[in-house]
Each structure stands twice: as C-alpha cells, then as structure tokens.
C-alpha cells in the first residue's frame, strides 16, 4: 500500500526540497504544494524506471560527485587551453569506442553525463544493445589511454556505487 503511493521516498523528499528552494519561502502553502508534487510526480513517472537500482552506496556516490566536480574544473582549463593555444590543424579529434561493463540504465546515464562534462570528451551514442558507448574526443594523441581512463576512473567507481 505504502509502496504504491510512495514508490520512491527519496525522490519525494528531493522534489519537496527543490520546490521549497525554488520558491525560496517556507510557508505552509508552499510546503503542502511541494509535498503534493513530491507524491504525484514519482507515482506518475514510476513506469519509466522499471529496473531502478534498489541499493546504492551514498558515501561512495558523494565521493564520486566531488571527484567529478574537480574534474569539471580541470576539464574547463584543459579545453580552454586547447581552444586558445592550438591551431585548428593541430587538433586531432577522435572517435573512441568504450566497451561497458555497467548494465544498469541509470548507471550508464550517469557515466554518459560524466563523460560529457569532463576532460575533452563528449558521449555521443550507445550501441543498440547498450554494451558499448561511443565517445568523441576533442584532442588526443592516445585514444587507448582515454578509454582506459574512463574505464578505471569513472566506470569502476560507478560499478561500486551500483552493485
């Protein structure tokens, strides 16, 4: 019974908190409206995440988020350097195929987002069966090293977060 009305309690809390932060005023009315959205939205969207991971490791996820934030800063500087100081003829872009060990859809989404936000890479497409991800790299001399870095730095951590 509770499962039916609260399929995702954490999402309910998050939506309510986000609503309060958006309107930026804690009143009873806002709280009720936020809670209403927090209950209705997960119920309505539940069909879209049938196999959502049941257990995650919040501490490791927090460490991962911190790592990604740091990498975003580094990525910004690296890409700015390439844009400013490399001549167009010297920029060697490459397509890289990264085979995936992750099978969970939510984890792959997170990995694709991470790849796009971090050093010189944009995730472009998945293989039709979801076993491989196609990555475009702005500038690299060594595509294999990029592939290994994505696998060891991000995918390995995500494997631990979504067991």
């Amino acid at each position: 019974m509770l499962r039916k009305f609260l399929p995702h309690p954490l999402l309910t809390l998050t939506i309510t908190a986000v609503w309060i932060m958006l309107v930026h005023k804690v009143t009873l009315g806002n709280l009720l409206l936020g809670a209403f959205l927090g209950i209705v939205l997960p119920v309505m969207t539940a069909p879209y995440w049938p196999d959502r991971p049941q257990k995650t490791r919040p501490l490791k996820l927090a460490a991962y988020v911190a790592l990604v934030f740091w990498d975003i800063v580094v990525a910004n500087i690296v890409v700015a350097g390439i844009i400013l100081f490399k001549r167009n003829e010297d920029i060697k872009s490459a397509w890289i195929n990264v085979p995936l060990d992750l099978t969970n859809a939510e984890a792959i989404t997170l990995l694709a987002g991470t790849i796009t936000m971090t050093p010189g890479t944009v995730s472009a497409m998945l293989a039709a069966d979801g076993r491989s991800i196609l990555v475009h790299c702005l500038h690299t001399d060594d595509p294999v090293a990029i592939r290994d870095e994505i696998k060891t730095r991000y995918e390995a951590r995500l494997m631990e977060i979504f067991p």
Binding site: V18, M21, L22, H24, I72, V73, A75, N76, I77, V79, A80, I83, L84, N88, I91, S93, W95, I96, N97, P99, A112, G113, T116, M117, G120, V122, S123, A124, M125, L126, A127, A128, D129, R131, S132, L134, H136, L138
Partner: protein, 122 residues
C-alpha cells in the same frame, strides 16, 4: 574586511567571464559541430558556475542571507547540459557522419542511431 570580500567576488567574476568568453570563442574557432560541442559543454560550465559562486558569496557575506537559487541553477545545469549535448551530437551524426567513419562497437549490434531495428528481425 568588506574590501577583501569584494575583491574575492570580483576575481571569481572575472575568471568566470574569461571562461565564458573562451567557450563562446571556441564556437567560432573550431572546425565541425562535434568539435564545437566541446566548447559550450565545458568551458562555459565554469563560466556559469563562477558567476553563481560569486552571487552566492555576495548574498552570504555582504547581504547576510542564504540564497538557494544558485544551487538550483547549478543542479539543473549539470542535469541538462549533457543531455542537450547528446541530442545535438546525435542529430549531427545522423546527418553528417557516415557509419564507416566510426569505430566498430565490438559487440553483437551496431551503434544505436545507425541500427535499423526492423532489418534485424528478418
């Protein structure tokens, strides 16, 4: 003390402005759409992020009020930027990138955008 705070905020603003400018310059400078995609997804993130940090510091230290809107903008930006980039990449690839230019998938099926699901069932 106020001067030091203002100096810090101004520095963050200038740095963020610099990265925003570089990101926009990258849009003009780079050669094709796949390369251009790298400029706004990265250089501009730090540009927007810096402006938001400056705004948060300003409200926190000079106005003495906590502001959550910047936090929300950061959250939505991080959620939407990769998805937009992915849409643009896919649309561009289907129109301009031939399958022969891409590396093989290394698994049973081809790349999702190029695979015709109907042809596989036969």
């Amino acid at each position: 003390m106020t001067f030091v705070i203002e100096l810090v905020i101004a520095t963050v603003l200038v740095v963020s402005g610099f990265f925003g400018l570089v990101g926009s310059y990258g849009l003009i400078k780079l050669r094709d759409s796949m390369q251009r995609l790298h400029a706004p997804t990265k250089a501009t993130t730090l540009g927007v992020g810096g402006a938001l940090i400056a705004s948060m510091l300003y409200h926190l230290l000079l106005k003495e009020a906590v502001s959550f809107h910047e936090f929300m903008i950061t959250l939505f930006l991080l959620l939407t930027a990769p998805i937009t980039a992915n849409f643009i990449a896919k649309a561009y690839m289907l129109k301009h990138v031939k399958l022969s230019e891409l590396p093989p998938t290394g698994c049973d099926t081809g790349w999702a955008g190029y695979e015709d699901p109907l042809s596989r069932e036969e």
